[in-house]
């Protein structure tokens, strides 16, 4: 993944005469869609899922949440439980996912006064298998001085391994002092096509260099082929749109099925985490 990033960014930076500025644009047509944002994992005791409605792109203000939907979780096609509504569009269920099982959700929307055409509609997710994930064997850092290519600071490196057999995909989330970046250009995913069965040593997970004393927690998660593709599509579009080599934009392929427009993803992942303090 960094391969393509390096190639595209490097090619694009050849001519330093480019500039950027904001402009005003109108949205000519817009149709609200339901957003499903949820995951089941083997790490948390409480699993959560969020439901909301999309907004016109340039509109400011709070997102529109969906309350009182019925959200059921299935494990290998058997009903496990129904999520309880908390607040602000968030639903939770006390359950911990198990490796090797397939999970999906079924959501029945409530009456929505502002979007009656969405009321009572059903959304299902395609089953996702909760695959195991290899451990982070080491977390390290490397301090780099200011240079043409690197900013000064601490760079985070991890060691891990990929089991033999293709189809193991990874995502890393890096919490810096408890905060995970919400920039889609900072999505860190990898498939094992090129590294199948190998030790992975010194993989750089830094998007912005860290400061001394930063508390870092790295979450290494297993992701399915389809979820890898979903995240990779978000990442590549966010990354390349500022370069010479942008592609026609499109909506990443969701695993949600409904007869109404719906976006988002419901995935199943195993986690392993490790932590380090920069400079110590």
């Amino acid at each position: 993944m960094k391969t393509i990033k390096n190639v595209l960014i490097s090619f694009s930076m050849v001519f330093m005469l480019s500039c950027m500025d904001t402009i005003e644009l109108d949205v000519k047509s817009y149709e609200p869609m339901v957003v499903v944002d949820g995951e089941i994992n083997n790490m948390d005791d409480m699993q959560s899922l969020r439901l909301s409605i999309t907004q016109p792109y340039f509109q400011s203000g709070q997102k529109e949440i969906i309350e009182e939907a019925v959200v059921n979780l299935y494990e290998n096609d058997h009903l496990i439980g129904t999520y309880a509504y908390n607040k602000e569009g968030e639903y939770s269920l006390e359950y911990r996912g198990k490796i090797g099982n397939e999970y999906n959700v079924e959501i029945t929307l409530p009456h929505l006064a502002e979007h009656t055409h969405l009321s009572g509609k059903v959304i299902k997710s395609k089953a996702e298998k909760l695959e195991s994930v290899s451990e982070i064997t080491a977390l390290r850092y490397e301090f780099k001085e200011e240079s043409l290519v690197f900013e000064e600071g601490y760079y985070l490196l991890i060691d891990t391994y990929d089991p033999k057999g293709k189809g193991n995909n990874y995502r890393w989330k890096v919490a810096v002092n408890g905060v995970v970046s919400n920039d889609p250009r900072h999505i860190l995913v990898m498939e094992d096509d090129r590294v199948d069965g190998n030790l992975i040593t010194g993989l750089d997970l830094t998007y912005d260099p860290f400061q001394e004393g930063d508390e870092i927690v790295v979450y290494q998660q297993s992701i399915s082929n389809k979820f890898y593709q979903y995240l990779f599509d978000i990442y590549m579009q966010a990354l390349t749109q500022e370069s010479f080599f942008d592609s026609p934009a499109y909506n990443p392929k969701s695993n949600l099925i409904s007869d109404i427009p719906v976006v988002g993803y419901f995935n199943a992942s195993a986690y392993h985490s490790a932590s380090i303090i920069m400079g110590e």
Partner: protein, 775 residues
């Protein structure tokens, strides 16, 4: 009644006998530049007092059949003084002509009635010839005379944006243009990602672009042929010329090895950004590199007026290095051997053998994903062409060619012990593309002419692995089997007839109405889902699943010379009907994918438009105004709900204005103004929050358009009298227009609010100074 009929029959017979007894003689030869000996392509040769005439072919040769007796031959070529010669034709005559370059006289060059009527004389439409002299005087980016940038000022030719490699002709993709350098194929004609082309103007003699009515001798691409011919080398005297600019410098040495028999040309150009970095005191900066170079070489020998051989070579490369982190290099090498042989004054032949190699090499040398990636395309062609001048009204062109293609899509190797990357070698691909053609050019009478051609194209994909998909579902997960083919076994083959037709009606010497039709197949595809081609894009030959694309193009146009052809008005409309064009699934994975057919979608396309231009050719002020109104659309199942959508390079409006003013012998000034519709893009219509990120909901593909592009460039050229050097001063983008290359969308920093951002590539005025010398 019977007596009348008999008399009429006798009259016809006697007329026929008279015709048979009046045997035609052939006048043939070459038209050359008197100062350098270079053959002039497209020079006009006319016989005064008759409608007989010819245009010199791609090798500067002409042939006309005439009645014996006294004839006056008038020869003209833009930028040269016209010549008029009296001859007494009693037998076939080899008559080669030399024309002097026009001097910089303050008086208007006398406009000959026969001057500049090439477009009226030739049968085909959609043909553009580029004047190298004019190109050198036009405003330049960073002082670089650039062919690809200049042809975009012609009607029907555009680009998706500043600094993009490739160009689009009549709504066709960048891969639909056959680019030839001395008949060798060039796959990527761009330096520095497309800011400049690989063509060193000091080494170029002639450039012809066929936008429609493709002659039968050309095949393999759908939209156009850009035929670039290098200079042969001055056969009269040694000449050294060059230039020093802000970005690059160039040097050309040419001259006779044996006067009027053997000559050579060596031309080099190199940029020098890396020279400055190496001079830096900063150790890290020294370790970076960015440059490009071109090297052209040619030698030719004339055994006699009947036999001539040429050997030409080109090598070019772009190199970029960022310390120890990353390096890349891509380029082209081409070699051409050619033999012209004149069997007799009516039969001209040419044998060409070419070798061209396009390659790139990228190294990422940091950490566990360190790798070394190489890819290349090797193309070897044999061509045999002949032109038979049957009689004064008929010429038959025929020939055949065969092209062997080797594609090495890529090899990735780990570069260090810490690299976790496994070696990957993509399977090499081989193909043979062949063609045979015949073209019948007929002048029916003084007003009607036609060119009827037929090309047979044959393509064979050789060797490799073919995957079998369950129930024909094109998905990697649906592979159920594979079949291996040995190196010389045919995996897939395609062939077909490609009719070519051009018709010209000239009611008078200043007017021509033309119609044309061509069908073309394209057997190799540029696999790229970016809006602009990149150096790492892959070319892929057709296989059992990736079928050849095909186009039918019709056009109808008018050419009108005004005021003794000093002004030329051209209006032409065209329509292109595409079949089996390729587009890609959303999120298509195109690099290192052995099952590319699973990422590709096939559909149809259409492109249509109207081109209009007015050109002033003589006088102190010359120039052209061109306007194109056009549309280019695609329809592909799986994209945009199967509805028609705008192609990435659709540009409804395209206006170019160019002017050159010759103030006096010392100074000339030129200006370009271009204005064009922005390219289409896909805009988000909604947004949502997912996993803490604000993400867009994208609307209909290419339903929006980036803001209109417009730009003014000016230049001034100083030619001091009696000096060997000249200066060229320029301003590119005079009013610093921030033309959008693209529009992208993002969340504001530390806020959930989203915004649209305009990315401009060259958003400021860019000055240039170049010193040119010649001695």
């Amino acid at each position: 009644m019977r007596k009348t009929t008999l008399i009429i029959l006798l009259l016809f017979l006697s007329f026929g006998l008279l015709e048979a007894q009046q045997e035609k003689m052939t006048l043939s030869g070459y038209v050359r530049d008197a100062s350098t000996g270079e053959e002039l392509i497209g020079a006009t040769v006319l016989i005064k007092g008759s409608s007989e005439g010819a245009i010199t072919n791609l090798y500067g040769f002409y042939s006309i059949s005439l009645n014996p007796g006294h004839q006056t031959v008038s020869v003209s070529y833009l930028g040269f003084e016209s010549g008029s010669f009296d001859i007494d034709l009693q037998a076939d005559l080899n008559f080669s002509i030399e024309l002097m370059p026009a001097n910089l006289s303050l008086e208007l060059v006398e406009v000959s009635a026969i001057a500049n009527d090439e477009k009226i004389l030739e049968i085909g439409s959609g043909i553009e010839r580029v004047s190298m002299d004019q190109m050198r005087k036009m405003p330049k980016l960073l002082g670089e005379v650039d062919l690809i940038r200049n042809i975009q000022l012609l009607p029907g030719i555009s680009t998706v944006g500043e600094g993009t490699s490739g160009f689009n002709v009549r709504g066709g993709g960048a891969d639909e243009n056959l680019i030839l350098l001395d008949e060798a194929t060039v796959f990527n004609a761009a330096h520095v990602m497309g800011f400049f082309s690989v063509f060193n103007s000091d080494a170029i003699k002639d450039v012809i672009i066929y936008k429609g009515g493709l002659p039968a001798q050309y095949g393999g691409r759908l939209s156009s042929v850009l035929d670039v011919r290098q200079l042969e080398g001055n056969s009269k005297k040694i000449q050294i010329k060059g230039g020093i600019g802000l970005l690059s410098s160039r040097l050309t040495v040419e001259g006779p090895i044996q006067k009027d028999k053997t000559s050579f040309l060596l031309a080099g150009r190199r940029s020098y950004m890396d020279v400055f970095t190496r001079l830096s005191g900063d150790e890290e900066l020294k370790n970076n590199s960015l440059y490009f170079y071109d090297f052209n070489a040619k030698v030719n020998h004339k055994f006699s007026d009947k036999d001539r051989v040429f050997l030409s070579y080109y090598s070019g490369n772009d190199v970029m290095k960022l310390g120890d982190l990353f390096s890349s290099s891509w380029g082209n090498n081409t070699m051409t051997f050619r033999w012209n042989h004149v069997f007799n004054p009516r039969l001209f032949t040419n044998i060409t053998v070419t070798n061209s190699n396009y390659f790139y090499h990228i190294i990422g040398s940091h950490g566990p994903d360190a790798w070394d990636w190489k890819s290349s395309i090797l193309n070897q062609t044999f061509k045999a062409d002949a032109a038979y001048f049957v009689n004064p009204t008929r010429t038959i062109d025929f020939g055949l060619q065969s092209n062997m293609q080797d594609y090495v899509p890529g090899t990735i190797l780990p570069t260090s012990e810490e690299s976790a990357v496994n070696s990957i070698e993509m399977a090499k691909e081989h193909a043979i593309e062949s063609g045979a053609y015949v073209s019948w050019n007929e002048r029916i009478n003084e007003q009607w002419k036609f060119e009827l051609g037929l090309r047979y194209a044959d393509f064979r994909r050789l060797g490799g692995t073919q995957y079998i998909y369950q129930d024909g579902v094109m998905d990697r997960d649906a592979i159920i089997d594979s079949v291996s083919f040995a190196r010389h076994q045919t995996m897939a083959s395609y062939n077909g007839l490609e009719p070519r037709f051009n018709l010209s009606f000239t009611p008078n010497k200043s007017t021509a109405i033309k119609a044309s039709f061509h069908r073309a197949n394209q057997f190799v595809h540029l696999i790229s889902n970016t809006n602009s081609p990149s150096p790492i894009d892959v070319w892929k030959p057709s296989n059992a699943y990736l079928k050849p694309a095909q186009v039918d193009q019709v056009s109808l146009g008018l050419v009108r010379g005004i005021k003794n052809n000093n002004f030329e008005l051209v209006v032409e409309g065209y329509y292109k009907d595409y079949r089996r064009v390729l587009d890609f699934k959303d999120g298509a994975r195109l690099t290192f994918n052995e099952t590319l057919e699973t990422e590709v979608l096939e559909g149809i396309g259409r492109a249509y438009g109207l081109e209009a231009s007015v050109e002033k050719k003589e006088g102190r002020l010359t120039g052209r105004i061109s306007y194109t109104l056009s549309r280019s659309e695609r329809k592909v199942a799986g994209i945009n709900q199967g509805e028609w959508y705008r192609a990435n390079f659709d540009k409804p409006h395209d206006l170019s204005i160019y002017g050159l003013y010759q103030l006096n012998k010392k100074w000339d000034f030129s200006a370009n103004f271009v204005m064009a519709s922005g390219r289409p893009f896909t805009q988000p219509i909604g947004k949502y929050e997912w996993d803490g990120m604000v993400l867009p909901v994208m609307g209909e593909r290419n339903a929006h358009r980036i803001p209109t592009y417009h730009r003014l460039d000016v230049s001034a050229n100083l030619n001091p009298e009696g000096k060997r050097g000249s200066w060229s001063f320029g301003l590119y983008n005079v009013y610093a227009r921030r033309n959008a290359y693209s529009i992208f969308f993002r969340q504001q920093e530390a806020s959930p609010q989203t915004e649209a951002v305009r990315l401009s590539i060259l958003g400021s005025v860019i000055p240039s100074v170049t010193y040119n010398f010649k001695f």
